[in-house]
């Protein structure tokens, strides 16, 4: 018998939960009902920065149907939240730091009662000077937002001798780029429900990306042991990073705990807009030095980020932005400085890409400017500088495998060549066409720190297999992929494996669903557990069958002899025997990627065990009379290592392109002005063309069956490619995102003649 062909990975296994979603049977957090459940609503600041002089809740408490009004004084534990920096308050104490800061919680018998009581709270503020620009916030005398000062982080990554290299460069290009606040705009606004279980456990159902982190912060708020708090992720309609923060979890848990009744909270779209994190707006001053053949020799990149009133994932974004500042290119001499400051703007946090989409806009614009000055094609300059095996990254990490940027560029090349043949209709009275490339690299997992995942696989006495993972599937498909990986090891159809996911009482932590890490990191943890179970199955079968263990293989729920395929023993029989003899049938898996922390002075280290790569090519039509940009074609090549579920990857690529179109052309959140979808535009299907999604597989030796990740990479190259395509069409570049009607029309007025 030959080695098995893969049957469960590399195939388009049906999504876990697809049927219940299609039939409308799945319960999202807002769908959950419980007898006696009360409604929680938050009173939020309408001030940017103010002292709370007086808070009078007496009239609200007398409102019919109002059960309670809670302030920070009612919090039994520590009134601090935050995944990295504990700088958020569940409810404001002496002051508010931004519009949307929660101040008091109203609990009503009904939503209307809670709403009515909310309107009766009287609050008196004393406004404080506010600051909205991170550079101003760092000047002496700026309003202080937190006691520790306004500087969140200054991260430096340096290597080689950039000053000397710039002196030798044939060409130096320096430009300043800006990107706006961006709202995640997941389809499901935040919602949750909490109740007290029979044994006193506080149970929180929530739309979340990280139940095990929520459990810690809820326990700390309520001054409970962690095992008295259980967080269960409900079906989640997208998160994109914003559901890594505690949004409703603390509110419903506090109300349920203090009142002893189930408590629900559902954000309106307006509340989700005002209360949850945004993408960090960055100002990037980017100086590149190149030789006349296009070879990059130096980069000096100064990044200034606005984390708003709270840090959230700001330190991670600042660090990842710095580490990724040079993109998928080898640049031997670098100085990168990433400085993030607090302001009175809304909190900025994690959003698909953690700062890399912003940096990619800058480094890809630089590449096209350099190419134009040097008379090279955009494809050629990227090819010449692309990282390869043996290349060194800005942190001094030498890449040893799975460096697929060259393959991605080559996969895009035919589309690029084809687009050049469209030149005959490039120019008309009202429109110009152009094409652009965007490329990227993206480190999988958290930056330079331990970020392990765990998993368990259990064989029941009846022979059924259950996979336990703490990973929150927020729509990206982690449950499906993890089940495929287990099925491949255990040689079963994936549907035969039961899934238990993202419940802190039944699963152990898989870390956050972020940083494109679940396939690679949790996937390896699942493989570890599955391999141990497979090992036991083979050993036990050998005892039962009295044959050489090396002659046995797993096949479709039985262990079978290679020599005599008629001879087999079922998983059920093995399970029953193992149970009798006391052999454990639940096995733990663990994986932590190999990283080296970044040196605090130089940034040197090994921030990630592996990197994903991608290149997008877009063609656009620019209406020079209105500034409208239409994306005509997109080709998107992604090195994913190994496609565990190709359709799922194509889905991610399509969604990333759509999000990238929004980032490039229309999405801009104006603090204090943008309220909801009525004044915040995300692309519709009419704005997104068909996408040629190209899967490139350059296997990662440490990945599960070679896999890396694609969740965030899918988004990153699109906006830079569009910006470059607009510049190609007009001969004029926009350095600020989004390239909205006004900016593009302004650029059109100085466009090159036809």
């Amino acid at each position: 018998m030959k080695e098995h062909a893969q049957t469960a990975v590399g195939v388009n296994a049906t999504r876990v939960g697809a049927r219940s979603r299609l039939l409308g049977r799945v319960q999202f957090a807002a769908d959950m009902r419980m007898d006696g459940a009360v409604t929680v609503k938050a009173l939020r600041s309408d001030r940017h920065h103010a002292l709370i002089v007086d808070l009078d809740t007496s009239a609200a408490e007398k409102e019919p149907g109002c059960l309670a009004v809670f302030t920070f004084k009612d919090i039994p534990g520590r009134n601090r939240l935050g995944i990295i920096n504990k700088d958020q308050r569940l409810l404001a104490e002496e002051k508010v730091r931004c519009v949307g800061d929660p101040i008091a919680l109203v609990v009503g018998e009904t939503p209307d009662a809670a709403e009515a009581a909310l309107g009766k709270i009287r609050i008196r503020y004393q406004d404080l000077p506010a600051v909205f620009d991170p550079e101003e916030a760092l000047r002496p005398g700026a309003p202080q937002i937190h006691e520790e000062g306004n500087l969140l982080i200054r991260k430096v990554v340096k290597r080689g001798n950039p000053e000397g290299a710039f002196q030798q460069a044939d060409l130096i290009v320096e430009r300043v780029y800006t990107t706006p606040h961006v709202e995640h705009a997941y389809i499901e606004p935040d919602a949750g429900l909490a109740y007290i279980d029979g044994d006193g456990t506080v149970v929180v159902y929530a739309s979340t990306q990280n139940p095990h982190y929520d459990q810690k912060d809820v326990a700390s708020l309520l001054d409970l042991d962690e095992d008295h708090v259980r967080v269960i992720q409900t079906a989640t309609g997208g998160g994109f990073g914003s559901k890594l923060d505690m949004n409703v979890q603390g509110f419903v848990a506090l109300a349920a705990y203090l009142l002893g009744r189930p408590a629900r909270m559902v954000y309106s779209r307006e509340e989700a807009f005002v209360a949850t994190a945004k993408r960090h707006p960055l100002k990037i001053t980017y100086k590149s030095g190149a030789m006349s053949d296009g070879r990059l020799i130096a980069a000096d990149v100064r990044i200034v980020g606005d984390t708003g009133a709270y840090a959230s994932y700001g330190m991670a974004v600042a660090t990842r932005a710095a580490v990724h500042a040079t993109g998928p290119y080898e640049v031997p001499n670098i100085f990168i400085e990433s400085t993030f400051a607090y302001t009175n703007n809304p909190m900025a946090g994690a959003m698909r890409g953690f700062g890399v989409p912003q940096l990619a806009f800058a480094h890809e614009s630089q590449m096209d400017i350099l190419a134009g000055e040097l008379g090279l094609s955009p494809l050629e300059i990227r090819m010449r500088n692309a990282l390869r095996i043996g290349s060194t990254t800005p942190t001094g990490q030498q890449l040893t495998a799975s460096v697929g940027i060259g393959k991605c560029l080559r996969a895009i090349a035919p589309y690029y060549e084809e687009s050049l043949r469209h030149d005959q209709d490039a120019c008309s009275a009202f429109s110009r066409r152009g094409r652009g490339l965007g490329a990227m690299m993206y480190g999988i997992g958290n930056t330079g720190m331990q970020n392990p995942s765990t998993a368990q696989i259990e064989l029941s006495r009846e022979g059924r297999i259950t996979l336990f993972t703490g990973a929150a599937d927020i729509g990206q498909g982690s449950c499906t992929v993890l089940r495929q990986l287990a099925a491949e090891v255990l040689r079963l159809p994936p549907e035969r494996i039961e899934m238990v996911a993202a419940d802190t009482q039944r699963t152990t932590s898989a870390g956050a669903t972020s940083a494109s890490r679940q396939t690679y990191i949790s996937g390896n943890a699942v493989l570890d557990a599955a391999a141990q179970l497979a090992d036991v199955l083979l050993s036990e079968a050998a005892l039962i069958m009295k044959v050489d263990r090396n002659d046995l293989v797993l096949e479709d729920g039985v262990v079978v002899s290679r020599a005599d395929p008629e001879k087999s023993v079922s998983f059920e029989r093995i399970a029953k025997r193992a149970h009798r003899t006391g052999i454990p049938l639940k096995w733990d898996g663990y994986f932590d990627p190999e990283t080296v922390p970044l040196d605090p002075e130089t940034g040197a280290g090994k921030p990630y065990a592996t990197y994903a790569f991608a290149c997008h090519m877009v063609e656009v039509e620019v209406d020079t009379s209105s500034g409208e940009v239409r994306v005509l074609h997109v080709a998107a090549a992604h090195d994913v290592g190994k496609a565990i579920n190709p359709d799922s990857i194509r889905g991610q690529i399509n969604s990333g392109v759509a999000m990238g179109i929004g980032f490039a052309l229309m999405e801009e959140y104006h603090p204090g002005a943008t309220e909801s979808m009525k004044d915040y535009h995300i692309p519709t299907c009419a704005d997104v063309p068909e996408v040629a999604a190209i899967i490139v597989e350059d296997p990662e030796p440490s990945g599960p069956f070679g896999a890396k990740g694609v969740g965030e990479p899918a988004l990153i190259p699109t906006a830079p490619a569009i910006a470059n395509a607009i510049a190609d069409a007009l001969g004029v570049r926009t350095f600020d995102l989004p390239a909205n009607l006004e900016r593009v029309l302004r650029a059109s007025t100085t466009a090159k003649p036809c």
Binding site: G119, D623, S625, T684, A686, D687, L745
Partner: protein, 286 residues
Amino acid sequence: MKSQFTYIRSESLEQALDFLARNGPETSLLAGGTDLMIAIRNGEMFSRYVLDISRLPEARVIQLSEGRLQIGAAATFTEIIRSSVVQASAPVLVSACKCIGSTQIRNAGTLGGNVANASPAADGIPPLVVHRARALLRTASTERLVPVEELVTGPYRTSIQPGEVLIHFLLEPVSATYRHSFQRVARRRALAIARMSVAAIASLGTDGIVTDLRLSPGSVTPAPCRMTAAENHLLGKRPDSELIREAAEMVSLEMIRQSGIRHSTEYKKPAVEGLVVKALTELFQE
């Protein structure tokens, strides 16, 4: 807090007018609800009653009658788009209605509601203006026909009086020889309020001379109007790109004359000129 109110649906126009005769000042009218429901949700609708007129037969008719195209105020955008009568005699209105919102919004939203809400960006208004549409307004005891330019008096303001119901519009139909164009710019390709729009219709003599031209922009002037200076510049002439460009500048000058120079003028001036050039070029191309 959502607005609190009593919902009433009349079985007949007479009943509705009778109700309004008594409760007019305390009543908001509901047709498609695509604007009113948002106001209700935001607690910005302060009327005691909401009177649903969406099913009144008189307000749903689409027909040619006595040389006029009659379109009921409660006719939905989808019904207008699908009407062969409107397609034949007011195709620019069909083009405009196709740009509105999404399929769901077009299925619910009505032409009467679009006009009565009086958003400067209303896509339905410029086509009505170029068709010299008049609106029939009735109370229990009165009836009047008002040109759409006079009905809409400013942003979100109309001359509709409490107790009056907008029943239908009467448009001047155009013959098949008329040309038409509706141009629009928005921040995305669907589900977006127009940043600006232009509706235009024209007829040409056999010699290529412009015999009729009517041009009305949206989101350009405080109240709907025709761009007569630009129209007159081309009337009686054989249009060329120079004349078209001059006409477009006349439109942007008129915009600035009526609305003044604002922060948005840097964008709107070249953009409205672009829209007019596109519309006129489409009208007059061979």
